[in-house]
């Protein structure tokens, strides 16, 4: 009987925090970056592709996975934990289809994953899942959705979000750059996702993996050529911006603006 009560790992600290959950969030911060953007007719997921060893086979799309025809998930954190969670979520999607004769809503499957993550913060002898997820898709009434969960089991809906390494930087960029016009345009939404990722990742199509999902269509991973086209467009736009800023400086004299996009791109290269 005593064995049932003293094996809990996640217990409160004196000042009311769950240290195990916070340590799990640290593990997430070490994972490679993932960005999600919600547009009116498209949802985009972008992840940082880490370099693989020379002898290793390069398997594409390991970090972005499909949970059902209309739901996709990207994660940041422990890959093995993600595999287990993904497996359970896929079963739940089909179970829902069987019992309710309808595909899951994105909120439902997010709630399921979040509940599962929460359960492991209250379990006996179990540690929390060390990952945050970005879940995107379209409900069967056509509404695009983007949700994010974290190791504590909370979930929120977002217009655009980033998780993983340097997520704060990327999120701040997204807050500045996200506009209604971007929301309306498919092309701009994809470009925003790539731009956000390029804030923290070296420029080049071999370092990013982008997947998009349109309404009533399956998840599509953009090929390297398509990504290169977007990156070329972004770099051209950056150059034009840099030119404008240089001219403004020459004419105006004083420059009171904060560090611009130009300096950031030049830092990367």
């Amino acid at each position: 009987m005593a064995g049932e009560y003293d094996t809990a790992i996640t217990v409160f600290s004196p000042d009311g925090r769950l240290f195990q959950v916070e340590y799990a969030q640290e593990a997430v911060k070490k994972g490679s970056t993932a960005v999600g953007v919600r547009g009116k007719n498209i949802v985009v997921l972008g992840v940082e592709k880490k370099a693989v060893a020379v002898l290793q086979e390069d398997r594409t799309v390991r970090k972005i996975c499909v949970l059902d025809d209309h739901v996709a998930m990207a994660f940041a954190g422990l890959t093995a934990d993600a595999r287990v969670l993904m497996h359970r979520a896929r079963i739940e999607c089909q179970s829902h289809r069987l019992n309710v004769e309808d595909p899951v809503t994105i909120e439902y499957i997010t709630r399921f994953i979040a509940d599962l993550q929460q359960k492991y913060t209250q379990g006996r002898g179990r540690r929390p899942f060390g990952l945050s997820t970005l879940i995107v898709g379209f409900d069967y009434d056509g509404t695009p959705r983007l949700y994010s969960t974290d190791p504590s089991g909370t979930y929120h809906e977002w217009k655009a979000n980033a998780i993983g390494r340097q997520a704060k930087t990327v999120r701040e960029y997204l807050e500045k750059a996200y506009t209604e016009t971007i929301y309306e345009s498919t092309h701009e939404s994809i470009k925003l996702c790539i731009r956000a990722l390029l804030e923290v990742v070296q420029s080049g199509s071999k370092n990013v993996e982008i997947a998009v999902m349109a309404r009533h269509k399956p998840l599509k991973t953009l090929s390297a050529e398509e990504v290169e086209k977007y990156i070329a467009e972004i770099e051209k736009e950056n150059e034009i911006e840099a030119e404008k800023k240089k001219q403004a400086k020459q004419i105006g004299g004083t420059s009171t603006t904060a560090p611009t996009l130009t300096t950031q791109t030049s830092k990367k290269e």
Binding site: E4, N99, V100, E101, D102, T105, E107, Y108
Partner: protein, 280 residues
């Protein structure tokens, strides 16, 4: 099993369904004391045999001249048409040749947009449709939208299937209106769950079907549909000994169900005879 779960009983062995209480701290339920082998007899009356399925098989198959036949002495019907679904039932309850009651409510109002009909065991239908109402409400709270008729009927069918062969007797129709429009499913105790435009269940269904099949058109007006349903029940009440007394009619609309009427079938019989619209 649903009932066993509510009481906190778990059966370890899938094949041996004898009840073992396993209440742990995970589900502390202050309204239900910890039940065990010693005190169980105080709280619920267990049947005097371990395996209900095996016992009932014996009784059904006429061993020692004993045969319990579960008859569904009633007439219930429901059909979809262009303005929704019409549900009509009689109100007689019989025990063999004895009319136990003439005022049974055979339509169960699960919630303002779902109806269930009762045929077979009254207790079975009433109880399981109340459990269904609980599931529907929790679904609505969790998912912030009304449950679909397909899902509700599937929940009921799955619950019943767990008790298949153990003596449940229900032939119920689940009627509702959801995102996909009017919904009508028939769920029965052998685990069947089917959807169609016209259903009738009970010993008087054969008479009801003849009237329905003769006069049914999907494009009927509401008034005509109600009249058709009324005539079908009245005809069944006239010919079937186990159906009669009061006819109750409900109309399922997009905004929910509405009770149309509850009148005596005898009065209608005389009315139709005088009008010469039916040969009574």
């Amino acid at each position: 099993m649903a009932l066993a779960n509510v009481l906190g009983f778990k059966s370890n062995n899938e094949f041996d369904r004898s009840l073992q209480c396993q209440k742990t701290d995970n589900n502390i339920d202050e309204f239900c004391p910890t039940l065990n082998i010693e005190n169980i007899a105080q709280f619920i009356t267990l049947p005097p045999y371990a395996d209900p399925a095996k016992y009932l098989k014996m009784v059904n198959e006429k061993v020692d001249r004993v045969k319990i036949q579960f008859l569904k002495g009633t007439t219930t019907l429901a059909f979809k048409f262009r303005n929704g679904v019409i549900v009509a039932v009689d109100s007689r309850a019989t025990a063999g040749g004895f009319i136990a009651s003439g005022e049974v409510k055979k339509v169960i109002e699960i919630n303002p947009y779902l109806l269930g009909t009762m045929a077979g065991g009254a207790a079975d239908c009433a109880f399981w449709e109340r459990v269904l109402a609980r599931h529907c409400r929790i679904y609505e709270l969790r998912n912030k939208e009304k449950i679909s008729v397909a899902a509700a009927s599937k929940i009921l069918a799955n619950m019943i299937f767990e008790y298949r062969g153990m003596g449940l007797s229900m032939g119920t129709m689940i009627v509702g209106w959801d995102k996909r429009g009017p919904g009508l499913y028939m769920v029965s105790d052998d685990g069947e769950r089917i959807s169609d435009n016209i259903f009738s269940v009970g010993s008087g269904s054969i008479y009801a079907y003849s009237i329905l099949d003769a006069g049914y058109k999907y494009e009927m007006s509401t008034v005509d549909a109600i009249d058709l349903a009324r005539r079908a029940i009245v005809h069944a009440a006239h010919r079937d000994a186990a159906s009669g007394n009061i006819v109750r009619i409900y109309h399922m609309k997009e905004t929910g169900w509405e009770k149309i009427e509850e009148k005596d079938t005898n009065d209608y019989m005389y009315q139709y005879r005088d009008e010469k619209t039916m040969n009574f």
